[in-house]
Amino acid sequence: MTTPVLEARGLSRAFGHVRALDDVDFEVYPGEVTALIGDNGAGKSTLVKALSGNLAVDTGVIKFEGNPLQLTNPMQASALGIETVHQDLALAPHLDPVQNMYLGREVMKSGIGGAFGFMNVAEMRKESRRAFDELGATVRSLTSPVGSMSGGQRQAIAIARAVHWANKVVFLDEPTAALGVRQTKNVLETIRRVRDKGIAVVFISHSMPHVMEVSDRIQVLRLGHRAAAIDTKSTNMEELVGLMTGASTRGVA
């Protein structure tokens, strides 16, 4: 078996008396879609925050490509090639897709122009277009503000941005929650393409059909604990719902 690109062992985190994460194990493999499911309050978001450097854990070890490390801030995770698409997308609505894509990581002009803060817009536009095309993202215009675009397009831009910068792991927090049928199909297709690039995708969702359709592996969280880690092919929706609600148990517990 290959080494997980990102691995967590015995993560715990308490908020006051609430144990949001209780000795959680988690692993993500390159070139696979790992679905992370669980009921509300199961600790999905807390786990993602911990693994993307947004939240410190009380105890436990995070390993990146087999090496233990301390994740203290999101920039550190970004530097390792780990990106997160949050539910609110975190796009600046007045900026265009290219500016959003490169915000905080602008390509500067070479030489004296760059020293004065001038950006290489042509280069960024070219690379953005390539990134959007690669994912099959249908972006209406590279020069219109993101805020004027539909939810599906914004989602596509946020995912494209994450994938553009992540070469190891992408976390997608409920990427299909607010989308229509067609946009959802596009997003799921995008997820497959990202996986085919060899990037590990962590797909958080409440939608069991989407999870079954796109994931290779499913990890179920329940009450801050991993209830199961199973192969998608060997399970079905009823079993997943049972695992989420605690009606059934299976696999590692």
């Binding site: 975190a90 915000l103 602008e106 215009s141 004027s148």
Partner: protein, 373 residues
């Protein structure tokens, strides 16, 4: 197009629905061909306000061709707007970050006072003294800007309150320093050059300085990373923070810029009027804010242009000048500017609302829909 079809189209736009081959499947190339530079220009609020300005100028020119439409009069208008233009550049940056700076008038006065005192203490009437005075004035303004910026970004006090506080503090300190008496000794090298000097056969030097600031400001805002971060912070502070933009530091820089420009305006004012004019700047902040907003910069942040601000400055300036020349009571200027201001913010609201719906941001569409209801 029949009314029914039109109605259906508008409804579709309202609910953000699309046809089977709607925008979701439109390729990048197709969409960009539709949106060329010209249509974008017409949609820009700064352009719409420019048309308003041209109409105003045309009306006054028709009413008073011998007095209003003269080069000498144009010079006067431009000269009077110069100091406000310098302040307007800083204010545009601040309002794009969704902030506000009420303190610029007082900071202008304070910088002028400190600079005048330093120059008086040095004595001398040469460029050496004047240069020190200019530097002192800019640094005084810069200090106030940093003071504002730190309190706003680090202490999280709202900009309205911080700059209202520094408005009072800067003005009060100016009066304490001077004992409430204006200083009138200004080196004559300043007054004869910056104050009312001309170059190239009649272009006021003060306007040339303002133009340089405006051009640099526009380049920085629209072409550099600093400008991009200004828009990003105003558009979504959270989004900017998440991708690693140092939001606090950027806000401090933007307020520092506005403060430094107010300091520069202080020395310009000192040169132009040969006095610190402590009581003369009580309306400056509001006039500049009005100009920025009339020029299409959104009070909610994320949107605006320096070009718009310059156009926005000239509407009050031309109205004032035109009313005086045509014999209308100049008090009408305030009424007219107030109305333009409200109209400008209304237009911005409409634009923002339709942008939030993902619909067309064209004003005509908006009015068309209104009429169809």
């Amino acid at each position: 197009m029949s009314d029914d079809v039109r109605d259906a189209d508008l409804k579709k736009a309202e609910f953000g629905q699309t046809d089977a081959a709607g925008p979701e499947t439109t390729s990048i190339n197709m969409a960009q061909a539709k949106e060329n530079g010209f249509t974008k220009l017409i949609k820009a609020q700064a352009f719409q306000i420019l048309i308003v300005l041209i109409v105003i100028v045309a009306i006054f020119s028709a009413l008073a061709p011998d007095t209003f439409a003269q080069l000498s009069n144009l010079r006067l208008v431009v000269q009077n707007a110069s100091i406000l233009a310098v302040l307007g550049v800083g204010m545009t940056f601040i309002i794009i970050t969704s902030g506000i700076d009420l303190s610029i008038g007082s900071v202008l006065v304070f910088s002028g006072v400190v600079s005048a005192i330093v120059m008086r203490a040095i004595g001398g009437d040469d460029w050496g003294t004047a240069t020190i005075g200019i530097i002192v004035s800019i640094l005084s303004g810069l200090a106030w800007g940093i003071f504002n910026g730190v309190l706003i970004s680090k202490a999280k006090v709202p900009p309205l309150i911080v700059t209202l506080g520094s408005l009072g503090m800067a003005l009060g300190l100016s009066q304490i320093i001077t004992g409430g008496v204006d200083i009138r000794q200004v080196p004559s090298v300043l007054t004869t050059s910056i104050g009312y000097g001309n170059i190239l056969g009649g272009i006021p030097i003060i306007s040339v300085i303002a133009l340089v600031i405006v051009i640099i400001g526009a380049i920085v805002l629209h072409k550099t990373k600093f400008g991009l971060y200004t828009y990003a912070v105003g558009s979504s502070e959270e989004a900017a923070r998440r991708v690693g933009v140092k939001v606090d530091r950027h806000l401090i820089k933007v307020y520092a810029l506005s403060g430094a420009l107010a300091g520069l305006a202080g020395i310009l004012s000192l040169s132009q009027f040969s006095t610190t004019a402590i009581a003369g700047q009580s309306q400056t902040n509001l006039n500049v804010i009005a100009a920025v907003v009339i020029g299409g910069t959104s009070l909610f942040g994320g949107y605006g242009t320096i070009f718009g601000t310059v156009v926005g400055l000239f509407i009050p300036a031309v109205l004032q000048n035109g009313f005086v020349i045509t014999g209308v009571q100049p008090f009408w200027q305030q009424v007219a500017v107030g109305a333009v201001l409200i109209a400008a913010v209304y237009v911005d609201q409409v634009r923002r609302a339709s942008a939030a719906r993902g619909a067309s941001t064209s004003l005509w569409r908006h009015f068309a829909r209104r009429n169809n209801k």
